[in-house]
């Protein structure tokens, strides 16, 4: 039996997962071009993390679960229902951007319609929020769960500890997924933590902890699916660590050549989960030359369209500056 059928995933589902991962990558690449062309002032990338982001999102109930994504989660927000056009609108900071109407920097996602909590810049504040959602779900006998992501460096913040502990004490339906991309800006993993795995910390909270290869969509899907099942059954939260690599500089304002070797990045690019997943799909005859070409073309034309639309869309009027401070 193949890996996807073992997990109960259909050919359509895995192909859809790949399409969204590829979309995230292509959107991100376009954003860098737009940044370098002086069209948008800032990009923070998902590249290298799309596989885990999309695979994890597919393990959720996308009709009812809540999410609190962090700034790299282009794959998550696409999988949960944000459109390419909406992503471009936030990159261009236009009034129509559903995340914040252009008030926040790109990568600060949020949509009430998608049950995606609004995020901020200080890292890790979203963890207690997701725990609060879990608490509210438990109080209301709502079988939705909360899925929250953050980087491995961010797992050192107090809010990580406070949130994780609270969730475990009250056995709340929460999945905390640490996207370990080996760097927090320039600071490498071994200078962030002394434990072998971020998931080791789960023991201290009395919750399930697990480290998976973030480049392996099946491993991520399985871990998050099981975590979601446990959460829904009332057995409490889980800490999932998905290990991958940040393929780009931290952001468009960073120069990663000052702290890591090009050789290291080159090697990581060879291990890109998007490549191995593509090979898997080809080997299983799910992705063919023909549907791949079509997929790329469709994505490109959607991105072109979205870019033109967002570029031409108006900014928020200065008259709106004072709106939304209070009801």
């Amino acid at each position: 039996m193949s890996k996807h059928t073992e997990l109960g995933l259909s050919e359509e589902e895995v192909l859809e997962m790949y399409r969204i991962m590829l979309t995230a990558r292509r959107v991100d690449e376009r954003m860098w071009l737009l940044n370098r062309a002086g069209k948008i002032p800032f990009v923070v990338s998902c590249q290298g993390q799309e596989v885990q982001q999309v695979a994890a999102s597919f393990a959720l109930n996308r009709e009812k679960d809540y999410s609190a994504p962090y700034y790299r989660d282009v794959g998550v927000v696409l999988a949960l229902g944000m459109s390419i056009k909406e992503l471009m609108l936030q990159a261009f900071a236009k009034a129509e951007d559903p995340n914040s109407g252009g008030r926040q920097m790109p990568g600060h996602f949020g949509s009430r319609k998608l049950r995606m909590l609004t995020g901020s810049s200080p890292v890790t504040t979203q963890v207690p929020h997701a725990v609060g959602i879990g608490l509210a779900c438990q109080m209301n006998n709502d079988d939705a769960i909360a899925f929250v992501t953050l980087g491995e460096g961010s797992s050192n913040q107090g809010d990580f500890h406070e949130g994780a502990n609270f969730a475990a004490v009250h056995k709340l339906p929460v999945i905390i997924m640490v996207e370990n991309n080996q760097y927090a800006i320039s600071v490498a993993l071994n200078e962030q933590v002394a434990c072998e795995k971020i998931s080791d910390r789960a023991i201290g909270y009395g919750m399930h902890g697990e480290t998976v290869d973030g480049n392996d969509p099946f491993a991520v899907y399985k871990a998050v699916k099981q975590a979601a099942d446990r959460a829904r059954e009332g057995t409490g939260p889980s800490l999932i660590e998905a290990v991958s690599y940040r393929l780009t500089p931290h952001s468009s304002d960073d120069d990663d050549r000052t702290y890591r070797s090009e050789q290291e990045v080159k090697q990581a690019k060879e291990n890109d989960g998007l490549i191995s997943f593509r090979e898997y799909l080809i080997a299983h005859n799910i992705l063919t030359e023909e549907n791949e070409r079509e997929m790329e073309q469709t994505i490109k034309s959607l991105i072109d369209e979205a870019t033109d639309y967002a570029d031409a869309a108006p900014y928020a009027s200065p008259d709106t500056l004072l709106d939304g401070v209070y009801q």
Partner: protein
């Protein structure tokens, strides 16, 4: 009408709101079985159960942050900070998150949380159980801050805070808990947030203050009226952020002489902003310089009774300051 203490008024407000709306719940340290270290939630655990009166782990950022998450879900949390002094670990959640959720999401998400915190000195609480920390939050649009001065206000303002669609910080004075008592009828009074309260009208001087200092000012004004015939125009700010500018301006213009009082340190305090408003709007109506009475600029209130007394603004000081201003 029953006589109700300040702390009973707080408890009753929560009880009535929890009764009225199932979404209202309490979370904080020792709020459940113990009923709060000051007994502000006494009996609520027994009445509403452990799911609506939640004993949390000892972690203030989580108390605020988990409350914020639940509020985004659609619940109405009342988060208790055991002492206002210990709200500091939660400041990031309050200022970066609660205050900005509506604005940053362009009105998509809202955060109707109430955060209660006992503040104030004169209770042998020393540096870390006596502070007035409202000024830290009082320049954060998106937040509202109320500080009740009487049992009636404590009840009406807490009900308003709980019903407010935005985050409200509710600072209650520890010394007022059992010191202040008054008759409150059992009605459902909700006191509007954002409006100051002109407690008494007078033609000679204006006093503007909030919280427990209102009580001292009222008593001092009574004595001055009896002894010297001086009539005090007394404005209780009630909401210290955002300030009721119109009420401040009207109160000052009425007498042309104004005394501002806070228990907090003078520098950068609430009354600093009040005096800026007065300077901006009332300069030509003033017959005397703005007078401020506040705690000294030391880090916080010391423990030893002599030092604590020397720190606290008291009724005698207030009376003297009122007299000096009246005679100016």
């Amino acid at each position: 009408m029953p006589v109700v203490s300040y702390i009973e008024a707080i408890k009753t407000a929560m009880e009535e709101e929890m009764e009225r709306d199932e979404r209202v719940f309490i979370l904080g340290e020792d709020v459940g079985k113990r009923g709060g270290v000051f007994r502000a939630t006494e009996g609520l655990y027994e009445r509403f159960g452990a799911k609506r009166v939640i004993d949390t782990p000892l972690a203030e950022s989580a108390i605020a942050g988990v409350g914020i998450g639940a509020a985004m879900y659609g619940m109405i949390p009342i988060a208790e900070m055991q002492f206002a002094d210990f709200i500091l670990p939660a400041v990031n959640q309050i200022i970066s998150e609660a205050a900005k959720i509506r604005y940053r999401s362009n009105n998509d998400w809202t955060c109707p949380i109430t955060i209660r915190a006992p503040y104030g000195g004169g209770v042998h609480g020393a540096l870390y159980h006596s502070q007035s920390i409202e000024a830290i939050f009082a320049n954060q649009p998106g937040l509202k801050i109320v500080m009740p001065s009487s049992p009636r206000d404590a009840k009406g303002l807490l009900k308003a805070a709980i019903r407010d669609p935005d985050p409200v910080l509710y600072f209650e004075h520890k010394k007022a808990y059992r010191l202040l008592k008054e008759e409150i009828d059992n009605n459902e009074e909700v006191i509007e947030i954002g409006k100051a309260n002109l407690l008494q009208e007078g033609a000679d001087i204006t006093v503007i203050t909030y919280g427990l200092c209102v009580h001292y000012a009222k008593e001092a004004a009574k004595e001055l009226a009896a002894e010297q015939g001086i009539e005090v125009n007394l404005l209780d700010l009630r909401t210290i952020y955002p300030l009721d500018q119109e009420a401040i301006i009207n109160a000052v213009n009425k007498t042309g002489k104004v005394l501002l009082i806070t228990e907090d340190n003078k520098e950068g305090s609430i009354i600093s902003e009040v005096s800026a408003i007065i300077g901006e709007h009332c300069l030509f109506e003033l017959d005397a310089p703005i007078k401020r009475l506040a705690g000294p600029n030391v880090p916080a209130m010391p423990y030893a009774p002599t030092l604590e007394k020397a720190f606290m603004v008291n009724q005698d000081q207030i009376k003297q300051a009122m007299l000096d201003l009246a005679l100016f």
